[in-house]
């Protein structure tokens, strides 16, 4: 049944257990990469063709001088105005009946233009299949009226799933609640960016601290079409005039 669905990820409830990552990999049969151990608890690294959920661990200094984590389970934002879908030359990237953004594996030819376009570092190129891959919003599960695997597995309900309108209401109420409790830095991400995201996030820091472009920088690739074509046209005109001028002179000095 067609409906407009959404995630609401409340980062204040995330405990960094990575159950969402595991459930995603199990359901979608993603083998994952070998873990990379650095100086933090994040051994997933980034969203890509194998990681469709990524629990970020950001260390920050608290007002009292201690150290705390800002954790966030990152995922494809399923943008209403999706940069990936905008540039895709094969129409492999479509909007589903759930208003989510889906890469059709039978259509994608692995040109990777979508990877260059996605401002959230979501899509990765899968060498084995030769395709661009990302979160499908568990398209197959939605069709069977099931919750996405990550939302189903999340033990703290940091990841909520439902109709987008309901998610917006829950997110707004939670934001008011936290601000009422004195958490002035709490903010909602995704209600305006790219025409509204289908993955809303409640953050406790600036969006850029979580690797999310702020509203000013959340822009579509097509913004550069006119000004770059215009630059080309002016250059072409000057070049052609120069060539005409150079070629018309009859055997002049070099």
């Amino acid at each position: 049944m067609a409906r407009t669905v959404g995630f609401f990820t409340d980062t204040t409830l995330c405990i960094g257990c990575k159950a969402c990552e595991v459930a995603c990999k199990e359901w979608n049969q993603l083998p994952g990469h070998a873990p990379a151990f650095g100086d933090g608890y994040d051994n997933t690294g980034q969203l890509d063709e194998q990681n469709w959920r990524h629990v970020q661990f950001h260390e920050r200094t608290t007002p009292k001088g201690g150290v705390a984590w800002n954790m966030m389970s990152d995922v494809c934002k399923h943008c209403t105005q999706a940069s990936c879908m905008e540039v895709c030359p094969t129409n492999a990237i479509i909007k589903t009946e759930f208003d989510t953004v889906y890469i059709q594996p039978s259509v994608c030819n692995g040109c990777r233009d979508c990877i260059a376009a996605c401002p959230y570092h979501v899509i990765g190129f899968d060498e084995a299949s030769g395709l661009a891959r990302k979160c499908t919003f568990c398209y197959d599960r939605l069709q069977a009226n099931l919750l996405p695997a990550c939302a189903k597995a999340c033990p703290t309900e940091s990841i909520k799933f439902g109709d987008l309108g309901t998610m917006r209401e829950i997110a707004g109420a939670r934001l008011n609640q936290l601000r009422g409790q004195g958490m002035a830095e709490a903010r909602l991400y995704g209600d305006k960016e790219y025409g509204g995201l289908h993955a809303l996030f409640l953050l406790t820091d600036k969006p850029e601290a979580y690797g999310l472009p702020n509203a000013e920088n959340a822009v579509l690739p097509s913004r550069n079409n006119i000004r770059n074509y215009l630059g080309s046209v002016v250059t072409a005109a000057i070049g052609v005039v120069g060539a005409v001028f150079a070629f018309r002179e009859r055997g002049g000095k070099g």
Partner: protein, 287 residues
Amino acid sequence: MPQHFVAPPQWEWYIVWYFFLGGLAGGAYALGAILRLMGDQRDAPVSRIAFLLTFPLLAICPILLTLDLGRPLRFWHMMIDSRTFTLNFKYWSPMSVGVWVLLVFSLFALISFLEAFGTWRSGKAPFLTGGLGRLFMIVGAFFGLFLAGYTGVLLSVSNQPVWSDTWALGGLFLASGLSVAAAALTLMTRLGRHEASAEAKLTRVDRYFTVLELVLLVAFFVSLGAVGSQFLQPRWLALWVVVLIGILVPLGLHLASARRTPALLAAVLTLVGGLALRIVVVFGAQM
């Protein structure tokens, strides 16, 4: 400074060579057409060389692009929607536009190649004559120039650092395409035996294009502002030096002398600089 959290698309050598050869082929056709339309009888051999050069170079381009795909056998999905079997064309996606331009321009380049080949090998009279022939070459030159420039627009229509932070990339690649095309034609005419007047014209046009490229290069860095610091790593700085040598040294040589050896050196440096420009822009932004 613009924020970027984007992943690199892993566009590498196939794409660099496509950008270089596409720019060279597009520029060469445009120069051949302008020389044919504006020049005199003594320029005909150089114009013919331009058309003889364009199509073979252009023929390599779709091969490079297909090999770069994750699923090369699905190259046709670029042009035909594999679900509905209708034509795919998105004017707001330069990759979609570019595929069609490459196809259409190839037809123009092929016909001009066949004409040039016929006049060269068999001494046949050219058939692209009269008003229709002129129109054919003007339209072909338009597509050639489009091919040379859109590759920069393709990079810009993304959310990649550097690429998406400038308005000058399309113009820069176009100016460079014209410059390397003039250099390649200079190289081929000076190595053969051709009219001195045609050689002089090529040198003169190459000088214009080199200045144009230099202006666009400055505009590119001005438009980038602080983002340009991305190129401060030693390996990219070294490549920029090659790019600059490919612009400034030929310019100096053109101004100093019109003799054969400096002209050949200038042409080689321009070609190397044009390739270095595409390497540094394509790879430098993806690191």
